[in-house]
């Protein structure tokens, strides 16, 4: 076993931080370490926390850490949202509010680097979560900003997804992306002491009642088809996510994170989802589906990594040919895939 993997299993904080960093950067012996750690993972409950900026996601995450620590569970946080105080502050200003858990050896907080164009963020989140699972986390909170494709991938990697909304932000509820809506297991209406909390709860209830069909129809709406969407919504009565998602109906909990109100109820609902996920056939089906998605992502990334290395100069030549419009990018990428499969191109060839 890799010495760093051994130290992670021995719960060495510094080694765990280093393993997280290697996993995030895909540097050093990250592959060997992750392979060694994998048999020691699968124990942690991965809890996604998502929602638009300003909903109080980070404060609520902080309260959840506190609640889980009271139960003497080890907690890890993977912060993917770069605007989160967990990531070490926003671009301007000192926004670190999470000082409370700094000295606690059973809380491990890790932020992820932002990525370039090739979608490594969800892979990083998955790999870092695995390191923290092996470290011995009972609960891993993965905090994301909740909009965008890669965020959706991360959300889908969680066992249980909490979506945090807040009243008084105008389009807050409507701004919850259809894709995230389909992933939501529990909603927290945070800042529930504010005007508009009832409306936010009612909107969410309506969305849940209208069911996954609406989310899908909305996401797939063509042109200006609001009328058609409404007609469809009016006739739809399927449970959220459709029959394949099983009988879990998303819960809605009111919270005031700043005053620690509603957090116990929230934990209860989250645990309810966990019990469903690990204790029912529908839950098992959901877990398998998520695992399949994760494996697809893993394969996609492995393919891309390998292809960039193997194709090297051929890829560069294709870029220039497309730039000069000598070839269309569709044909060019088909040929690159063929070359990659045929092994006709070796590293350095054509350089």
């Amino acid at each position: 076993m890799h010495p760093l993997a051994e130290k992670v299993l021995a719960r060495d904080t510094r080694a765990t931080a280093r393993a997280c960093r290697l996993a995030d950067d895909r540097a050093g012996d990250h592959a060997a370490i992750l392979k060694d750690l994998f048999p020691h993972t699968g124990r942690a409950w991965i809890l996604g926390v998502t929602g638009n900026p300003g909903a109080g996601k980070s404060t609520l995450t902080d309260r959840l850490i506190g609640a889980f620590r009271k139960q003497d569970r080890r907690v890890a946080v993977v912060a993917v949202d770069p605007t989160s105080p967990f990531t070490g502050g926003a671009i301007l200003g000192d926004r670190i509010r999470m000082q409370a858990h700094f000295g606690d050896p059973d809380v491990f907080i890790r932020s992820l680097a932002t990525r370039g164009a090739l979608g490594g963020l969800s892979r990083s989140a998955m790999d870092v979560a695995r390191v923290l699972d092996a470290w011995g986390a009972d609960v891993i909170l993965v905090e994301t900003v909740g909009v965008g494709q890669d965020e959706l991938e991360i959300t889908r990697m969680a066992h249980t997804t909490l979506v945090v909304a807040a009243p008084g932000m105008g389009d807050e509820v409507q701004a919850i992306k259809a894709g995230i809506l389909e992933c939501a297991d529990v909603f927290a209406v945070n800042k529930a002491d504010r005007d508009g909390a009832d409306t936010a709860v009612r909107d969410l209830e309506l969305m849940i009642a209208l069911g996954g069909e609406v989310a899908k129809a909305s996401g797939r709406a063509r042109g200006h088809s609001a009328a058609a969407l409404h007609a469809r919504a009016a006739g739809a009565a399927a449970p959220l996510g459709g029959p394949s998602e099983g009988p879990w109906v998303p819960a809605i909990v009111r919270t005031v994170a700043t005053r620690n109100e509603g957090v116990a109820s929230l934990v209860e609902q989250l645990e309810g989802h966990r019990a469903w996920l690990f204790g029912t056939e529908a839950g098992a089906a959901r877990r398998e589906e998520r695992l399949r998605e994760a494996m697809h992502v893993q394969l996609r990334d492995a393919l891309t990594d390998a292809a960039v290395v193997v194709l090297g100069p051929a890829l560069e030549a294709a870029v220039h040919a497309v730039a000069r419009r000598e070839i269309d990018p569709y044909t060019a990428s088909e040929r690159l895939v063929e070359a990659f499969r045929a092994g006709a191109i070796t590293p350095g060839a054509g350089a």
Copy 2:
């Protein structure tokens, strides 16, 4: 040439809508159509419009359509944000405000479907934009919500990226993701008649002055390193995006989209960026860099598509082996990549 491609080039509205849909769904003869259209693309100016929900992005986009139409340019809109009124309404409520351009044959508005886990959204946006380029659009506005990896990919596909912020939304400016910040060519501080507009402008000026180093440092900040980040920011004086990005300095324009104020200045700044991009060496370098990224995305998606088809049952077997923890997902995906390359697995084998 494919008959549908011919009709797109003849500017047949119905055929263009159909070609967009096929490109978005990757259905029918989409590949043949896109290949046929590609030689007729490259003329349109692709303008990304991004920003958090509530900043007034859609209203400003609407105003930009109006401004470009006054110049008698053909305009296309690709709406990627499912909460946008352009996509046919949000989940609840009738939010279509864009009625003004409905009857105009020189405005083509197209919304995209939301996608599953495999990141097809940016590919769809790129392909649909190419169809609309071939249709004869002079300007293609691509509206995204601006947070998340896939959104970043879409932003990077644009020639010029406009980031819309608004005062009075608390963390609005700070919530602009570091990745998007690095892509921003022009900022609109919309709702500039509201309290806090000066602060928003000042914050943006500061961010631009601090330069790309801060954006990078923020994105890559580890743990709680705000102090380190500030120290680094204080010493940093590089232009935004670093020297490789060339001398374009993002412009800031105040707008009140609802009253059509500041829109002319905004168009002027956007045109300024366009002139830089197509008229300078630094601009040419930027275009090449973006093209390379687009080609990587294209290749990644082509690889994934091919691998899912070719590997089929082997991929499914790997999912189950990982679920039973008989193999770790890293080794499993390496083996799948090898099998894909060696062609050892044929469709249907092992089923």
